[in-house]
Every structure is written in C-alpha cells, then in structure tokens.
C-alpha cells in the first residue's frame, strides 16, 4: 500500500460524563486504514463502534487523541472547515431515515454537490450517474416514502459516493433491511470496493462483516481483534 492512509487514528479516547458516571466509550483506539481497503468494524452494543464511527466521520470530537483523515488533522479544524471535510472527503450511509423527506431521490443525491457549490446542470448529471451506478436511475423522481427500505439505502449510498469522497462510512446500513435487500446493498459495496473505494462499515451482523477484507472487533472501547480475511460471498456477487 502506498500514499497517505485514508484514516490514521492514534490513541483515541472518548469519555462521556464525569466522576462516578464516567463512561469510557473509546479507550485508546489506534487504527490505520489504507486506500482501497474494505473494513468492517464489529462488536456488541456498547462496545464503542458507533462512537468510533461518529469521530471518524467528524460528527463528534474525541476527548483525547488525534484523527488524520486523508492526511488532514481534523482536530485542528474550525466548524466551517469540518463542514467542508464532511462534504468533500466523507460519504455517509446511516442506519435509517437517512434521506431527506419530501424531496426526490435525485435531489437527495444532489444535496452534497449543492453544498459543494456545483452548478445545477452538472449536479443533475453527476447525481444521475451515481444513481445509475446503484441501479436506481429509473426511480430518480420518486420521493423517499415511495421507495422500499433497501432502495432508500442504495440512494443513500449514491449520495455518499457522488462527491468522489475518499472514504465511505456506513453505520449499520443493513440494520433495518431484510436478507434480500441486505444482499443487494452489500453487492453494491463489493462493486464499489472493487472499483477502488475505501469503505468502513459498522455492523453487528457477522454475515455483513464477513464480506469485508479486514475485520476489526471492538470490546469495551478497545480493539480486541484486527484480522485480514478472505471475503466471503464476493464471488457469488461477481458472478
């Protein structure tokens, strides 16, 4: 692997509350993710995986420790610069309700580009090609409530990759999906990774974690296992 790592996290801690009620959600997490990796972070509930995801996505700030995103130390950035980083370098897929209601799928995909300051015509073109990539171009004018849960999540993926971001962060993206929709979404991730995208996916489902080529397990705010694996089911998706 060459070049700057996409993620370079050093000795991250995040403490909620203080004194007797103090909770150490993250307790010294150090982690490097290289370009093109497909990483799954698993752990039981309360293990700190959501907290890690929020800090990696610049939605929350660590109590101590530093986080370099694509070589940029996000701890030193102002509010406005953080907004810019979230816009340009990270694509999010949340567990549920991650689309803005009452606007069409394509308008949802366009949103990051709108905040990016891109002209409407160019926006529409790029949003359509992102929707095409995840196979929902024919649903572009549907509003979120007219789409199934799986389709909504795939639109969210399109929105996450439309800015050509360095990192795709997905927080329990399959949490509310049935097995068929889960399979569809995961094969989208497989394709994206095959095309060179860096993906970090948070999940508690072993089947989802098995698709990644690196599995990180958190327990009580620490990394207890970090192993490379032969991704399962990838060939089936490719075939």
């Amino acid at each position: 692997m060459t070049g700057t790592p996409v993620l370079d996290v050093r000795n991250l801690t995040r403490v909620y509350g203080d004194g007797a009620t103090e909770v150490r959600a993250l307790d010294g997490v150090t982690l490097r993710v290289e370009r093109g990796e497909y990483v799954a972070v698993t752990g039981s509930s309360g293990s700190g995986k959501s907290t890690l995801m929020n800090i990696l996505g610049c939605l929350d700030t660590p109590t101590t420790g530093g986080c370099l995103l694509d070589g940029v130390d996000v701890g030193r950035l102002t509010d406005a610069q953080l907004a810019l980083v979230r816009n340009r370098r990270i694509g999010f897929v949340f567990q549920e309700f991650s689309l803005i209601p009452r606007i069409s799928a394509v308008a949802n995909v366009e949103l990051p580009l709108a905040y990016h300051g891109i002209k409407p015509a160019e926006r529409r073109r790029r949003a359509m090609s992102a929707l095409d990539l995840i196979g929902l171009a024919d649903r572009a004018d549907h509003e979120p409530h007219q789409l199934s849960g799986g389709q909504q999540q795939r639109v969210a993926v399109a929105r996450a990759l439309v800015t050509e971001s360095a990192l795709l962060l997905a927080d329990e993206p399959t949490g509310n999906l049935d097995s068929h929709a889960t399979e569809e979404l995961l094969s989208v991730f497989d394709e994206l990774n095959a095309a060179g995208r860096t993906i970090v996916i948070i999940t508690h489902e072993p089947g989802v974690g098995a698709r990644a080529d690196r599995l990180i397990t958190l327990f009580d705010g620490r990394i207890v296992e970090d192993s490379r694996q032969e991704p399962a089911g990838r060939h089936a998706a490719a075939a």
Binding site: L59, D79, A83, N87, F92, S98, P101, R102, L111, R159
Partner: protein, 372 residues
C-alpha cells in the same frame, strides 16, 4: 446553495405543514390587517369634518350673501347659504314642539352643513324662489311631534302658517332639534326681512378653509365695518377633533400592534416546532457538509416567507375591509401605514424566526443525528 433554491425549499417546508403554516399566516394576517384598518379608522374619523365657514355678525344681508358668491374675488367658494334663523312653535294635531332653530336657507345649505335628509327630500331652488311653505325637520322634532307616524307629507302649523313636511334630516350630534325651510318662506311668515343670522360658506375641495377665509374676509371688509362680523372656521374645532383622532389612532394602532406581536410569537412557536421536528434532517444535512449559514438561511427564509405571505394577505384584507364603514366611520387607508406594517412584518419574520434558526444552525451534527 443559491438563494432561489433556498426559497424553493422554504416553500416546500411551508407546504409540507399546510394547516400549521396556515394558522401562523393567519396570525400575522390578522395583526397586519388590524393595524392598517384601525389606523385607517382613526384617520377616517379625523377627515370626517366639514370644510365650511360660518359668518356671523350684525348687518348681514341677502345682498352681502350674494356678493360672496364671486368667482373672481373668491374663487375658492363653492356655495353660499344665507341663514335666517328664529325660534318657532310647531304644532300638529294638538301636539306642540318648540324649536330654537327654525332656519330659513337655500338648498345648498344641506351639503354645506353636511346635513343630508334620511327620508323624504330637501327643498329645491324652485321652492325657494316661489317661497313655498315646505319644511325639512330634524330627528328630535320628528320624534316629538309625530311619534309613531311618518312625518313626510304631514302639515304642521308654524306661526299661523301651514308648512308641508317634505323630509327628515339624518341624525347628527346636537342638531336634531331643528327645522329647515326655504329662506323666502321663513322671512315671509316668521323672521321678517331683517338681517340674516348667519351666512354659511362652503369651500371647494381644492381650497383650504384658511384660504377661503381670507378671500371672504376681503370682500366683507368692503361691505361691513371691520369687527362687526366674525368668520368661524369650522376647521378650527376640527383641529381639536384631529388631536382627539390622533390620540384615538395611536391607541388603536397600539392595540393592533400588540396583535401583530402575538402573530410574531406564533412564528417563533411554529419555527421552534419545525426545527425540533426536523432536527434529524438538520443532522443529515450537516453530515453531508451543509455549512452553518445554509441551515440558518433555510429556516430564516422560511420564517420570513410566512410573515411576508401573512403581511401581503393582511394588506389585501385591510383594503377589502376599508370599503365598509366601521363604527360609523369610513376608514381612509394611510399609505404610510401599509408600507410600515409590511416592513414590520418582514422584520418580525427575521426577528422571531431568528432564534429558532440560530438554534438549528448551532446544533452539533452528532446531537442532531441522535435526536429521537
């Protein structure tokens, strides 16, 4: 994100909460319409005064009255009404009423004195020329002499002569106990051909009463001893009326302004609810990289839009309402008040929408996303 896009998305936000937005708009609408209409009512009551001069004095004659109707020396005069007044006892079928104000005058008096008839008709110039014995009576006289009977068409005895009642005056403050007849008939039967008791001069619309007063005085000075007459400018008592009306307008305006303020609080309320409801959406937008100012602008524009729509509809309602007389006053809209109120309603949107907007923009993305 450009302003037109933000405005479009604000319209969508307003439309999404139809009934709630409607009620908020209604609050502003009522406030704005109330301010404009009540100020218009106050203004209308100030403009209700007549534009008439009353000349009183000794030695006023029909000749002098005629000399005032001079388009060259007194171009501002619209009409001249000589008045021969006396007191008289009117009787009808045994009923008797004494009026201290039995006036002989010309038809022009009715407009000059702003005393139109309610039922029947006024007498004509021909009646006056022929000295016909017809009379228009005031409301008090009508009620005293003809309780329960329509006075029009009855004949009353005044000073031994029979007068036909042809009309009843519209009720007017302190002026009900009066009777008006052609001056020629009154002089013949009652008052004699002595001096007039007063001359009413009505100024034209374009001429201020003060200007006309100067013109009239110049003519009178050539005919009468200076000091033997005086000109009462009705717009002088009008000034005190205006002061009262101004106090009245201020009071009404203040009451209405309070209702506008309450409308503004309605905007704060709905925007706070909207922000709370859309907290998760704000979180997602922030996660997608929405800068603070875009979130701020989005909610600010939405609030301002609500208040502007309410303000615009309020102005429309006020214009409609001003066609009807309110509490006996014909409202006259003050253009300044419309501009002021529209401006204020925009400011209300920005001010009262500001707090919720700042709150939305200041949310940390993680808190917004975790909002239940």
């Amino acid at each position: 994100m450009s302003l037109p896009e933000i405005v479009r998305s604000a319209f969508r936000g307003i439309g999404a909460n139809g009934p709630r937005s409607l009620l908020t708009v209604l609050g502003i609408l009522i406030g704005v319409a109330a301010v404009i209409l009540l100020v218009a009512v106050g203004n209308g009551s100030a403009q209700g005064g007549s534009n008439t001069l009353t000349i009183m004095g000794t030695g006023l004659t029909m000749k002098i009255a005629e000399s005032l109707d001079d388009p060259v020396l007194a171009p501002g005069v619209r009409s001249v009404s000589p008045v021969a007044g006396t007191s008289a006892i009117l009787t009808w079928e045994g009923a008797e009423h004494r009026s201290d104000s039995f006036m002989g005058t010309v038809p022009g008096w009715f407009t000059a004195a702003d005393s139109p008839v309610e039922t029947g008709a006024i007498f004509t110039a021909d009646d006056e020329a022929q000295a016909r014995r017809v009379v228009v009576i005031g409301r008090t006289v009508a009620e005293e002499l003809f309780p329960g009977t329509d006075p029009v068409g009855q004949r009353v005895t005044v000073g031994g002569a029979l007068f036909s009642v042809i009309g009843v005056l519209k009720e007017k403050r302190d002026a009900g106990d009066t009777a008006v007849a052609p001056i020629s008939a009154v002089q013949q039967v009652l008052a004699g051909y002595g001096p007039l008791s007063a001359i009413l001069v009505e100024a034209g619309d374009a001429s201020p009463a003060d200007t006309v007063e100067g013109q009239v005085s110049a003519i009178l000075d050539t005919k009468l001893e200076p000091g033997s007459y005086r000109v009462v400018n009705a717009s002088q008592p009008l000034e005190t009326r205006t002061a009262t009306a101004r106090a009245f307008t201020t009071l009404l305006g203040a009451v209405a302004a309070v209702s506008l303020l309450v409308g503004g609080l309605g905007i704060t309320n709905i925007m706070l609810v909207t922000v709370a409801e859309r907290t998760r959406e704000i979180g997602i937008r922030k996660a997608l990289g929405a800068p603070r100012r875009v979130i701020l602008a989005q909610f600010l524009v939405e609030a301002t839009l609500l208040s502007v729509i309410g303000g615009g509809l309020g102005v429309a309602v006020a214009y409609l309402g001003s066609h009807f007389s309110i509490a006996g006053v014909q409202p006259v809209i003050v253009p300044g008040s419309v501009a002021l109120v529209l401006g204020v309603s925009v400011l209300i949107g920005i001010f009262f929408g500001g707090l919720p907007a700042v709150r939305a923009a200041g949310l940390r993305p993680i808190d917004a996303l975790r909002y239940p």
